[in-house]
Amino acid sequence: MASHGIRDKVAIIGMGCTNFGEHWNKSTDDLLIDSSSAALASAGIALDDVDAFWLGTMGSGLSGLTLSRPLKIQHKPVTHVENYCATGSEAFRNACYAVASGAYDVVMAIGVEKLKDSGYSGLVVSAPASDGTQATVTAPASFSLLAPAYANKYGVDEAELKDVLTRIAWKNHRNGALNSRAQFKKEVSKETIAASPLIAGQLGIFDCSGVSDGSAAAIIVRVEDAHKYTDRPIYVKALSFVAGPAAGPIDPSYDYTTFDEVVHSANDAYKQAGITDPRAELAMAEVHDCFTPTELVLMEDLGFAERGTAWKEVLAGTYDLDGELPVNPDGGLKSFGHPIGASGLRMLFECWTQLRGEAGARQIPGVGQKDSVKTKALTHNLGGAPGACVSFVSVVGSELD
């Protein structure tokens, strides 16, 4: 399989990200206007300077008009993309390719989701007409299957695993407490997390990401043009997207302790970026912590821990803000909620912020300085359910290789 990547061919020159939360007083249009304006201001350009747009949203609108109407875009290409929970990342990936191809000079990738207008708890997705035989379990139930399978395979007892999952939620909330854009901006005690009412399987309400509204946007140009706009562009090192055969739910050999799609997209991304030891080389990672067991399994799938050891690394604080490899320094989906189309770009926004040394109270020590050794960051999105998902991995960096 050929996957050449576009390492150091395009750069991010500006980003914007709204606060995430229950925006009862903001519409999808408002969120798009806010994040795009912030991104344009960050890049120091006007809307007219943007040649083409990629809009990611799963359920907040259809077609490019969802963006061109509120922004009053004057007859330019606006592409609407959807790829489950990786939708925002998918908008970014395709926007990058458009610039790398030479088709456009300046493009915008923008993601948005307005979840809080539905009136329901959790994520609501309308399905195509069907014969009614599809499993009707909710997302927390699907992901809760990981916990007993992992514990069983690696001999972790139930109480110990609960501690591990609790610590993941605790860590992400702790990081989110330092982030003014987060939906939940306060620390939550381990006791509160562990005692929260059960939603599905072993997962309590604090093991689940929140439900919020939000939007984020990035402006992308060719690498050679980047310094016209900023002294500190962020370079795209790798973009990998994988959809699998969705065979987990029908294949008895699948054991619910891994996401094959993530392993494939991570390996592809590391190859594109020239990364051989992600745990040592990456300054930070933003990963798809939709539910606490997801983050646990991702640590192994992304190569941040040996198989069967991530639970120990979590307990040891390896992925804390001051740990060996900070994971979800902005607070993750846990603190931000998961407005589908926006999440991937929100993750990228944290890489942009940290690698430029602009993260304030949650700035990772030794990252984002002129003499920083670690200059690369990773984002990871996945959509679907264990055994049947899509996965996206990007690597970005503040230095050209």
Partner: protein
């Protein structure tokens, strides 16, 4: 010689103790329990379960002409309910499927029709009444299926007797949740002469006397008339067989079928069975067991006898849950969207899957649920054979308890199950205690009504724990 070649009774898992009912309503305490169809069952799905049990006892060559379905509580009007049973049993399209609906007496019609050809009669009913009434406490839910044929007959059809009379005893207007009954003593008066006439007619046709009867089954919703009937027939009261008043309640249309199944579970060869059904008249059927019955009993799964199913029931259903399941108590739904209605064209395209639980098996032996066209490993297209999974047991690979999913009876217990011999499937578990589920538990498939939306019943399969009812 035409007769019954196989049979099956299906008793739902749940029991409502009459003491539970009495303590909730503060009324007098009748003894025993009634059987309760679960929230995901209706007369059609229970009919499928009874038929599956019956079809276990016939040879693979058995090819029925028709399937006759009788119930007083149909899932649909206008649309034939028997077709879903026909589809779930994966019968050929050349096999008829007919309904006999509305009255308790319909069960007799289905059996008469089935006996006149090599056909299957399926009797099913869900009985309840207004809270506090005797129909609610003394009714029961269940189904029975009888396969008729000419080879390997286990009970030959000797004769029938009938007496029909129009009188107002019990009635229900379509759409009503409960039936009404005239003053009890009037029904007793009206039924008494009809019993004698019909019974004597049947005896005469078979050239038998009342003393020849080894097992007698008296069934009907008019309790007093049913109780008085054996005496007027001159039947030896020792031949009266269990009417399950204490353990299951009266399952109306299906009731005598369940009683007959229980008799056939233990009867000896060459015994005469008298069935007397009081329903808007009286119908009598006389059967004689054959030598083939013993062999049939031996090959039967001991967990599927009526007694074993009674023993395997769960006794702690709450009255509130019962009322909710039967639609008498509207409870706050979860804050989740209601499920979409199953749509017509996809349901037709996938009928073998949706109703027959067929998967597809590729060249390597990998089984796809639902059926797939492309092989996972080789990528070859349409190199598949269809394989029926409904009667294969499976083991729980992993599971979860979903407190958020929409359900009439939360929480939803969802499991990933691996079938013996291959095939993985993610489905709901039913008739299960969420706290007792474990990885490695054995399950079997059960045909259920997942939900009803826009009046369309979404029938599909769930898994339930394998229970050996014999205690």
């Amino acid at each position: 010689m035409t007769g019954i070649i196989s049979y099956g009774a299906y008793i739902p898992y749940w029991r409502l103790q009459r003491s539970t009912l009495a303590s909730a309503l503060g009324s007098g305490g009748a003894k025993g329990a009634r059987a309760v169809a679960s929230f995901d069952e209706d007369t059609t799905s229970m009919g499928v379960e009874a038929s599956r049990i019956a079809l276990r006892g016939v040879s693979e060559k058995y090819s029925p002409q028709s399937l006759w379905f009788a119930t007083a509580e149909p899932g649909y009007l206008d649309k034939t309910n028997a077709n879903a049973i026909h589809a779930a049993l994966s019968l050929e399209s050349s096999v008829n499927a007919f309904d006999c609906l509305g009255s308790v007496r319909s069960g007799i019609a289905a059996v008469h029709a089935a006996a006149s050809g090599n056909s299957i009669a399926v009797l099913s009913d869900i009985r309840t009444g207004l809270p506090g009434g005797s129909d609610e406490s003394m009714g029961g839910d269940g189904a029975a299926a009888l396969c008729f044929g000419t080879e390997n007959v286990i009970a030959e059809f000797l004769s029938t007797g009938t007496s029909t009379s129009e009188f107002v005893d019990r009635w229900r207007t379509p759409g009503d949740q409960a039936s009404k009954q005239w003053e009890e003593r009037f029904g007793e008066y009206a039924y008494a002469p009809l019993v004698e006439v019909a019974f004597n007619e049947a005896l005469k046709k078979a050239n038998l006397t009342a003393a020849d009867v080894s097992h007698s089954i008296f069934s009907g919703l008019h309790t007093r008339a049913v109780k008085a009937a054996p005496k007027s027939c001159g039947i030896n009261l020792d031949t009266l067989r269990d009417d399950f008043a204490a353990t299951l309640g009266n399952s109306g249309t299906a009731h005598w079928g369940v009683m007959l199944a229980n008799v056939l579970d233990t009867a000896q060869p060459n015994e005469v069975i008298a069935i007397v059904v009081l329903a808007d008249g009286v119908n009598v059927i006389l059967l004689r067991t054959t030598e083939a019955l013993s062999a049939h009993q031996k090959q039967q799964d001991p967990s599927l006898t009526v007694q074993a199913q009674i023993a395997a029931g769960r006794n702690d259903l709450s009255y509130a849950q019962f009322l909710t399941w039967r639609g008498f108590l509207h409870r706050e739904p979860p804050r989740r969207p209601e499920p979409d209605r199953p749509t017509g064209p996809p349901s037709l395209r996938t009928a073998a899957w949706k109703y027959g639980l067929y998967g597809s098996r590729d060249e390597s032996g990998f089984i796809y649920l639902p059926p797939a066209r492309v092989s996972l490993q080789s990528g070859s297209i349409d190199k598949m054979e269809m394989v029926r999974m409904a009667d294969i047991r499976a083991t729980i690979a992993t599971y979860t308890v979903d407190h958020l999913a929409f359900s009439m009876s939360p929480p939803v217990v969802a499991a990933v199950i691996d079938f013996d011999g291959g095939g993985r499937f993610q489905c709901e578990l039913t008739d299960v205690d969420p706290a007792s589920v474990k990885i490695g538990d054995r399950v079997e498939m059960s045909f259920r009504k997942l939900y009803t939306q826009d009046g369309i019943h979404n029938y599909f399969w769930k898994a339930k724990p394998v229970r050996t009812g014999v205690k």
